[in-house]
């Protein structure tokens, strides 16, 4: 079995990311925590959010018609509590939040989650994730 992905996206997400890329340029995600709009994946211009040794790269979204993969980052400390779950970045109607790029579109990225299967976890548990250091 190949290395299972930790993060996927829905067709609606791909459509919105394509639109946001055309408006803004290359993008990235950082998964937020905490209050108010916390727990939402925040979509920024690539490089806008400075990642470092305290962040891990949990995936790269390859989307048709978008030249470069969109990296998805999360705080390493938060990843410790999230790592046993598979994430899907979805889109719902809403108002965005923080400085995430989708809010003017009347949309909101949203994380949906499921537990990894035992088979997936057996591979992922022994596969290190890359940090931003």
């Amino acid at each position: 079995m190949p290395l299972p992905s930790r993060v996927d996206y829905t067709p609606e997400t791909a459509e919105l990311l394509l639109k946001l890329t055309k408006i803004n340029g290359p993008l990235m995600f950082h998964q937020s925590g905490g209050c108010c709009d916390g727990s939402s994946p925040m979509c920024y211009l690539k490089g806008e959010f400075r990642v470092g040794g305290a962040d891990v790269l949990i995936g790269e979204l390859m989307i048709t018609d978008i030249a470069e993969p969109i990296q998805v980052w999360m705080s390493a400390s938060q990843f410790e509590y999230w790592k046993h779950t598979h994430l899907t970045i979805d889109v719902v109607v809403g108002r965005g939040g923080g400085f995430s790029l989708e809010s003017p579109e009347g949309k909101r990225f949203l994380i949906r989650s499921r537990l990894f299967t035992d088979e997936e976890w057996a591979i992922l548990e022994s596969s290190p994730v890359k940090t931003g250091a």
Binding site: G33, F49, G94
Partner: protein
């Protein structure tokens, strides 16, 4: 018929304007873009007004006004500023019902909370800082016979403040009152989910403040909040929200070398020791209420007691009793005084909560009660309502580690003091905590051992001015709600004065 009439309806205490522009330099200013966005009430899910969609040019205009006003405002006496803050408080008190209705309609919270908690606390906050600035003194230190160090407090100048949507008025006032008391001018960006209740308040008090001292620019975070937070023209930025934005704001602040205060949320443990159930008395009843506080403001509170830690010695009895108490929560129209829990603030917040109910179930947590969206029927069917929910599980589950920001508490049991502290501190966050026990020695030891900025002891969700509020760990930097907040909005000027006529003798 509700106890209070919805804004815009005959007999209502509130009429919202159909459209809100920015508030800059003492007057309404149209947005540079000419664009507006729709403002929805979560009570029914319907649009009730349009709001200016601000951008960097609007922020600059607001900063121009603030900078023009800052020299004179910063030189007013503490007495003069305190008088203004007290007048604001008096004006709010005279209009408390209208402000409460305005906030409830925009945010969805039950009117009893807005009327008896949020707005009275906001009023008191202005009075507290009016008093604090009057009583604040600099110092004169006699370092030796001829040398004196004088310390003066000076305002920072122009500050930026970004406000969350869970308490649109109280959280704005928590930031405004100390900033204004200390002599600063403010550019404030409300949350795009709740942009106009603060405008309603501003409209009520606009004649009390000099032009340009408070400027409000609405809009989306990326279009209006970011230019404010990253502007080299602010001397400080204060933010309440989540961790990614908090880090971005620190990043921008590092580029401009300005201070930040951040309040970024929590996952607060509410700990019930076994002796709580020793008697079936008033205290036991109070503890049951203390557990049920997770439903306050629909759980949309940074300090929501969202982890219930129950002593194994009384686990079954206590969980049964708090479940009964939770099932007695009356969910209904937010404008009815008997309603205990209202609507979630926005559709995306509702979706997020539902996604957590989903992962909680998938991780194997047991739903003790609730666990679903609520349909209250009639005009409320379009609103954003969630049943108060108790999950039972363990502390490594995501519903125990992430701030759901909804009326959801995750319960687990502990065996002994050390185990309770271990679970309580196994969290990225450290904002609030609750400790319930009849033994004050246990209470004291627990309160000191928990890594959180606020430990409510035999109480919960009280926010009196004078009790410092802020976080440990990822919950943020700085404190609010206390006179020490003045320091967050002031420079320290030291005059080091020699009264000796004689040279040092070095050169």
């Amino acid at each position: 018929m509700t106890d209070f009439v919805a804004p815009g309806q005959p007999g209502s205490k509130v009429t919202y304007l159909p459209r809100y522009d920015h508030w800059i330099n003492g007057k309404y200013e149209k947005p540079d873009s000419g664009q507006y966005f729709e403002n929805v009430t979560p009570v029914t899910g319907k649009v009730f007004c349009d709001v200016a969609r601000g951008n960097a040019k609007d922020i600059d205009k607001a900063l121009d006004a603030a900078h023009a006003a800052a020299p004179a405002w910063g030189k007013t006496s503490a007495t003069a500023r305190a008088i203004i803050l007290n007048k604001i408080a008096d004006r709010m008190e005279a209009n408390v019902e209208a402000i409460a209705v305005a906030e409830t309609w925009e945010n969805g919270k039950p009117i009893r909370e807005a009327l008896y908690v949020d707005i009275p606390l906001a009023i008191d906050h202005f009075r507290y800082f009016a008093a604090a600035i009057r009583a604040q003194e600099g110092s004169a230190g006699e370092l030796d016979e001829d040398t004196v160090a004088y310390h003066f407090h000076e305002p920072l100048g122009v500050v930026g403040q970004i406000i969350p949507w869970n308490f649109p008025i109280l959280m704005a006032v928590w930031k405004l009152a100390p900033a204004l008391a200390a002599g600063n001018c403010v550019v404030l960006k409300p949350a795009e989910q709740t942009p106009v209740s603060i405008m309603f308040l501003m409209d009520l008090i606009k004649d009390l403040l000099p032009d340009g001292v408070v400027n409000i620019v609405n809009g989306f975070g990326v279009e209006a909040g970011k230019p404010l937070a990253s502007s080299p023209r602010i001397a400080k930025i204060a933010f309440t929200g989540e961790t990614s934005t908090g880090r971005l704001i620190m990043q921008y602040a590092s580029e401009n070398i300005i201070p930040v205060t951040l309040e970024l949320g929590g996952k607060s443990p509410n700990i019930f020791f076994g002796d709580v159930a020793a008697e079936n008395d008033a205290f036991y009843d109070k503890a049951l209420e203390g557990f049920t506080m997770f439903a306050v403001n629909q759980g949309e509170v940074c300090t929501c007691p969202s982890r219930g830690l129950i002593d194994t010695k009384m686990y079954d009895k206590f969980l049964g009793d708090v479940t009964a108490r939770t099932n007695a929560i009356k969910q209904g129209h937010p404008l009815d005084l008997s309603t205990m829990i209202g609507a979630q603030a926005s559709t995306d917040q509702l979706e997020k909560i539902l996604s957590y109910l989903d992962i909680g179930k998938k991780e194997g947590a047991k739903v003790i009660t609730g666990g679903e969206r609520a349909d209250l029927g009639g005009e409320l069917s379009g609103g954003y309502y969630v049943m108060p929910t108790i999950f039972e599980g363990h502390n490594k589950m995501r519903i125990f580690q992430e701030e759901i920001f909804g009326p959801v508490v995750s319960v687990t049991k502990f065996d002994g003091f050390d185990n309770a502290m271990e679970i309580a501190n196994d969290s990225l966050y450290g904002l609030g905590a609750g400790v319930w026990t009849r033994d004050m020695n246990t209470a004291y030891r627990a309160g000191r051992a928990i890594q959180a900025g606020r430990v409510w002891t035999n109480c919960y969700h009280a926010y009196p001015a004078g009790a410092a509020f802020g976080g440990y760990k990822a919950s943020g930097i700085g404190r609010e709600n206390h006179k020490m907040m003045l320091d967050h909005y002031q420079q320290t000027k030291n005059l080091l004065v020699s009264y000796s006529p004689n040279k040092l003798g070095f050169f």
